[in-house]
């Protein structure tokens, strides 16, 4: 598979603070990547480095598996980081024209991309008259002007109202369906879970996990379970080989699986042992739980 971006031990220090520490991962064509991490975990710094605005302290990265200089490579990339940055005194059209000049693409894509994000009727209005949602959509249109090999979005829904968030999400889905590789940085887990196929988890500048979402959520899931006699239940569950850890919650127990076990098998076993179950659900773990699990281990 074609490699789009590869990082080798990339690091960035601000004085004594390690914003990013020895980060290595690669991005392949056609996947949708999510960079997850709490605020201040180094997501934006990492993106800033590969986008030529932050100088790495050490390590290296390469675009498109080649010796292309970073700025030449970036002409084939579409990226928006943090807030949409445009010239406030220029119209939407003028701003995009400038981007076309920088990226060396023809001007006739402008109307098409403005239509895609629903801003065609505002093309001659000045950027400063736009709402935040419109600014963000214009930024996406601008990033798509060159039909990029990869689209990089850093917190694209930050500060938007629910309607704006929805519009941006729909757009991202639409773009990913067109086959564009996407790299999405976010601290909103459900956002990443909904659209991403691969994740990179960062904490305090350290990469904790890089791989597909399926790999991350590879465990067998867990049971939510409660019985009339909880003590008996726990005792019985402890004897089941497939069940590992058992955690009490407010209204039921969570029994995590080490190997496959179906609901009917467990129920039959409990009934055979005269245990009356009041609640029994089998669940797959969600990204959020995995994420909290992973990041918790790093906080002694």
């Amino acid at each position: 598979m074609k490699q789009i971006l590869r990082l080798h031990n990339l690091s960035k220090n601000y004085g004594r603070v390690h914003a990013v520490k020895n980060l290595s991962f690669s991005i392949e064509k056609g996947n949708v990547y999510g960079i997850l991490g709490p605020n201040g975990s180094g997501k934006s710094t990492t993106l800033g480095m590969v986008l030529n605005v932050i100088n790495p302290s050490s390590g290296s990265f390469e675009w498109f598996d080649s010796n292309l200089s970073t700025h030449k490579a970036l002409q084939k990339v579409g990226a928006i980081i943090e807030r949409p940055n445009f010239y406030p005194y220029m119209s939407a059209y003028q701003n995009l024209k400038l981007v076309c000049r920088i990226k060396e693409v023809s001007l006739n894509k402008i109307d098409e991309k403005l239509a895609l994000v629903g801003l065609l009727d505002r093309k001659n209005d000045k950027f400063r008259t736009f709402s935040l949602g419109m600014k963000q959509r214009l930024a996406i249109a601008s990033a798509l002007l060159n039909d990029p090999e990869i689209l990089i979005l850093d917190e694209p829904t930050n500060g938007l109202d629910p309607q704006g968030i929805f519009q941006i999400r729909e757009l991202v889905k639409k773009i990913s369906q067109m086959g564009t590789t996407i790299l999405l940085a976010s601290h909103l887990l459900d956002e990443v879970e909904k659209v991403c196929t691969h994740v990179l988890i960062l904490q305090k500048g350290v990469g904790l996990f890089a791989g597909s979402v399926d790999m991350l959520i590879s465990s067998e899931g867990y049971f939510e379970i409660q019985a009339k006699d909880p003590d008996q239940l726990v005792k019985l569950l402890n004897e089941v080989e497939a069940i590992g850890e058992i955690k009490p919650t407010r209204s039921y127990y969570q029994a995590f699986l080490k190997s496959p076990l179906e609901v009917d098998e467990l129920q039959k076993y409990l009934i055979d042992n005269n245990c009356v179950v009041t609640h029994l659900v089998k669940r797959k773990e969600r990204l959020e739980e995995q994420f909290l699990e992973l990041t918790k281990n790093q906080n002694p």
């Binding site: 030529n52 100088n55 940055n85």
Partner: protein, 278 residues
């Protein structure tokens, strides 16, 4: 090259304040022609400034470039805000992300500096030529096109001054503070000169020799004040064919000093841009 120029031209042209400033600048340059209209007529005393010899070739090149250079402050505001706006709008960041290299970014700005300086030089050339042809006592081609070095000096002076402004813009990132610093720097050069002249060396010659290397001072030295030369020109006007007054003209080494400063400012701006995280 054309791409970089168009990028910068679009940015500048779309900005209304910059447009107004550039327009006023050229309007002010044109106003030199108004000097020709200065006339006093008090009965027996008749005075017409244009006929006092200030528009005589080749003196007019000296006079007009000296006067016009004062208006460069208007363009300085444009240059400084041209770079400071990129920082305050964070568009410099977006430009880099979109695929402009830091070198290209700098080059596009420098091309605009060159462009504005070239247009100014051509403009002052055209105005002076028109005024000279109207009022000059001599219109022989050989005389008209002598002392053209003042135009070169004018051009270098503008590029030098704008490069300094540009560097301050990159360094300070805020237009108002950068312009403030420019004024402060002018004062600093004056104070330093005064200190060397009266305290350190107590010798005008040594102080002058050192001060000619100061950036703003070296730019001012390019075109010396033309007024003391005016009387000489007037005298010459009555003895046609004589030498056109004694003057030093534009010295090559003075141009070289300013060119060196231009290189230094552009190089420093580049280094600054390169080392900074945005």
């Amino acid at each position: 090259m054309k791409r970089l120029f168009l990028i910068e031209f679009d940015k500048l042209y779309a900005n209304r304040i910059s447009r107004i400033l550039v327009f006023s600048y050229f309007l002010l340059m044109t106003s030199i022609a108004l000097i020709a209209a200065i006339k006093f007529d008090f009965g027996p005393i008749k005075f017409h400034l244009a006929e006092q010899g200030i528009f005589n070739f080749p003196y007019i090149w000296h006079f007009n470039t000296f006067i016009a250079a004062w208006f460069k402050l208007f363009l300085a505001i444009v240059i400084v805000s041209m770079i400071a706006n990129e920082y305050s709008n964070k568009t410099i960041k977006q430009n880099l992300i979109d695929g402009l290299s830091k070198k290209e970014f700098l080059l596009s700005k420098f091309l605009m500096i060159l462009f504005l300086s070239i247009v100014s030089t051509l403009y002052i050339f055209a105005i002076s030529l028109a005024l000279g042809l109207t009022f000059s006592n001599y219109t022989e081609l050989r005389i008209i096109f002598s002392e053209m070095s003042y135009l070169l000096a004018f051009f270098i002076k503008l590029v030098g001054f704008f490069s300094f402004c540009f560097f301050l813009g990159v360094l300070i990132k805020r237009s108002a503070f950068a312009l403030g610093f420019l004024i402060l720097w002018q004062a600093f050069e004056g104070i330093l000169y005064g200190f060397m002249r009266w305290n350190l060396f107590n010798d005008e010659k040594i102080a002058d020799t050192i001060a000619q290397f100061f950036p703003l001072n070296s730019m001012n030295n390019l075109i010396t004040e033309p007024f003391s030369r005016l009387s000489a020109v007037k005298k010459v006007a009555s003895e046609i064919g004589a030498d056109f007054g004694n003057h030093s003209g534009v010295a090559l080494y003075e141009i070289l000093i300013v060119v060196a400063w231009i290189c230094i400012f552009i190089f420093l701006s580049f280094k600054l841009l390169q080392s900074r995280d945005l």
